[in-house]
Amino acid sequence: MQSTARDFKHNVDAALADPNLQDSLGKLKVGFSERRRQAAERLPEFEALRDRARDIKDHALANLDFYLEEFERKVLALGGHVHWAPTAEDARRIIAELCTSVGARTIAKSKSMVSEEIGLNDHLEALGLAPIETDLGEYIIQLRHEPPSHIIAPAVHLTKDQVADTFLEHHRALGFTKRLTERNDLVAEARHVLRQKFLDADVGLTGANFLVAETGSSMLVTNEGNADLSNTLPKMHIVLASIEKVIPTLEDAAVLLRVLARSATGQESSTYTTLNTGPKRDGDLDGPSQYHVVILDNGRSSVLGTRMQDMLRCIRCGACMNHCPVYGAIGGHAYGWVYPGPIGAVLTPQLIGVEEAGNLPNASTFCGRCESVCPVRIPLPGLMRHWREREFERHLTPRAVRQGLALWSFVARRPKLYRRLTALANRLLAMFGRADGRYRSLPLASGWTRFRDFPAPEPGGTFHARWARHGGSRVRP
């Protein structure tokens, strides 16, 4: 997918000026976080489960080579195939070759963020293939030629009215000529249209929430059941997953599932949890005759063993963005690439370069709400700060910021000079702000005063000046 992360500030302006987006975000902010809070409260051991989930992922990452090979052995023994894709390009090529090997025309896709990451749909379409998204949200944005704006709710940026218009435009040719206004009617219409696509599909392509090493299973959770149709009806099932999705055992999966759904949507469990373990066996009534797992690295292995490894614990629940006030203000598209919100601010610089995505880890107040809800306790603000440190070391921080910082830290390291300068600043700001107690505009502070008044200091001098005047006491001697 083409990144616009470099245009972050421009994207932000557009997002803030989009009334439909702002309307949608208003609902998201309340709904997800409230449901997650209730779900966590209903489960007394939720915090302990978060610790276990973190430990499971840490253990898997510390032994990633072992578990990936174990997974491969199991898949091969079941009669499936594993394909290793070091880069996005490799993954695209492997999947295209698999599709053409069975003469595929239509590919039923279940939602996969990794497929967004590697720009799969555009690639397949360029080869004359027809990938069809079968997750409702993904289907909507595919019709609109938009990227997802949220990792579990890809069309969350759209209002119901926008969806109604999109369906009318695209389904008219299929005989659906009435503009629908009820949510259930929209779902029913999409269901009807998609049912035929499932039946037409030659290949089913899904992502995976987990790859289970001990059984060679790929595990998927959905609320729509679309993954089940994607992987049972067509003759070939391709699983596309990144390396950090592997976990040791089914028991581990059970722990992770318990925190995943609660963190994501506040559900105790997603509606459908599907395990795929190899191709159709003799005697099976249905299932794919070919089962392939494409495992993508795309730069992830380079953070193994570093401080940044924590980002690979992510189980893609979306809680960090659901609770992020920055995401809540600007939505997902402003982040400019596949993964938005706090996890996007950490992952995107790793996957497409900090030169391109340098704004993302900076656009945070470090409020810490993301870390406080992350089911695998990823220290998201700490990782964002780490990117800021990398940018600073590499002189990527904007020049004005660097110069301001250099001046400030020069003064801050000289307490006596600092004291004289703050006393002067205090006197000037207090004097000119005397009449109103605040400034409506202030030179060099337009970023502040464009939207807010700037409080003037209270009269009487700095604290340290007054403290010294009082002879080191709070009351005048």
């Binding site: 500030k9 006030p325 409020c367 910082l405 009449a435 939207f451 209270e458």
Partner: protein, 258 residues
Amino acid sequence: MVADVSSPPRRVALFVTCLVDLFRPSVGFAAVKLLEEAGCAVEVPPLQVCCGQPAYNSGDRASSRAIAAQVIDAFEGYDHVVAPSGSCAGMLSHHYPGLFDGDPAMKARAEDLAQRTHELMAFLVDVLGVARVAARYEGAVTYHDSCSGLRELGVKQQPRTLLGSVTGLSLREMATPEVCCGFGGTFCVKYPEISNAMVGEKTADIAATGADTLLAGDLGCLMNMAGKLQREGRAVKVRHVAEVLADMGSAAPIGETG
């Protein structure tokens, strides 16, 4: 408040914070008053400057380390270090040790400072056991939980406990008191549009409570919210919680005169 006169007073160093020093010295004096009334001997180490967050959060580790070393020197030897700010206290207690990962001697000193450092509300209630204050404030207040204090230091109930003892004061909670106000240090001027969207939501939430006063424990957040409330023409007075608890709630609110 009753001080335990039998034991020697605790030697407490006040970390004034740069914003309180420059913009709102009353908060520093309020903190000293609260601490003294709780039986502490308060000193203000003269060589203190800033905690270093502007550098730290901009990725400048070398400057952060130099400033942290200076703060560690300035606050050596005190029983406790107390700041009227969750953000600055959190910097000292949660982030300084990590700055000295390659320097065991300095790391030990940073960890020692971290152990001794407290946010003012948490220190009064959790360490000193203060349950009530002698203060009067006529009005309905709403309280914003500043992020670092809340999520790094667990400051949530302590200010509410103390506010509950203020004569004449009633507390009206916001719908989302724990959501960031959009200040974020340099964030508010680096990404002013996002910051504005965030603080605009916050002021709407504040206004919806009908409270006439907004309180919080961090001056940066307070200046941000005061500036937005005033730009929007909302008649809400803004003060640091320490001022009200120290019975200094009659001074001009932040950003106002007289």
